[in-house]
Symmetry: C2
Subunit: 143 residues, 2 copies
Amino acid sequence: MTQDQVTQDRAVAPREWTVFSPSCPSRESLARIANKWTAMIVILLHESPLRFSQLHDGVGGISKKVLVDTLRALERDGMVEHAREPDGHARYRLTALGRTLHEPLLALQAWAESYVEQVLEARQRYDTALDERILAGVPPYEP
Amino acid sequence: MTQDQVTQDRAVAPREWTVFSPSCPSRESLARIANKWTAMIVILLHESPLRFSQLHDGVGGISKKVLVDTLRALERDGMVEHAREPDGHARYRLTALGRTLHEPLLALQAWAESYVEQVLEARQRYDTALDERILAGVPPYEP
DNA sequence: CTCCTCGGTCACGTTGAGGTAACCGCCCTC
DNA sequence: GAGGGCGGTTACCTCAACGTGACCGAGGAG
């Protein structure tokens, strides 16, 4: 391969001001929204505002600490807000900004639930193939 | 508030076989795809198959170790595959399953880049409001 | 032959995400 | 006024994610 071909082959657009640039603030935003807790909380809150304990019950397996931390982070980034109701209980709701997140995150949930079977099958194929390679004495990965 | 009202208020659908159940395998799938590295890799690979070093350059700031780990995980879950080209170089490409991920993940990138300004503003508002509350001697958060 | 790149692997160390359990003030009910 | 639920906070710990730097075998290029 000539140097010219290498150069052309490697030409990947620079994308300076995108998530692909580690110093771009949008990278942080991506990290915040590309997160299972964020996804579940936004999806739950889109149906209706919820109290803390309802969120805690709705998001199975989340600890109070992580729920609090995630809610504070979402509030700080303007996606969620909370208020005290007259009855003294907290109530969390999506902001306008948070509502714009619902559609993309719901798509993630839909994907995860629709394709989970295919993922599980692929995983099994991969693992048995790996076992066979090991039994055959082949190094697990050709470098 | 009466007990009946409390009960009704807390009625959140059980959602047994969804990502909201921590033991459902779809929860794992969600965690894998709701991930910044996954998102960036899938978006890059959707444009064209890429070599390892092209991915390493394309995903700014990722280390070789994390890139390898993420690619192996994506391969195991059937979203990516790799092969040796005749020239001896590796080439990674999306599988059919991986291609179905492109649209939802591209939506995440688009969101992150479109709304990053609003997120930054919200963050600043939150931080200055918090500072004021502290200066006023108010405990940072009303429990 | 020697040097280089590519595509990794390996052996660390650091950071951050996340869990656990105890505790707390407020309000409510009994 | 004792107990209980709500909405947290705190201290502490664990483990997975991530980074770093060195190394390595295969395959060119010179």
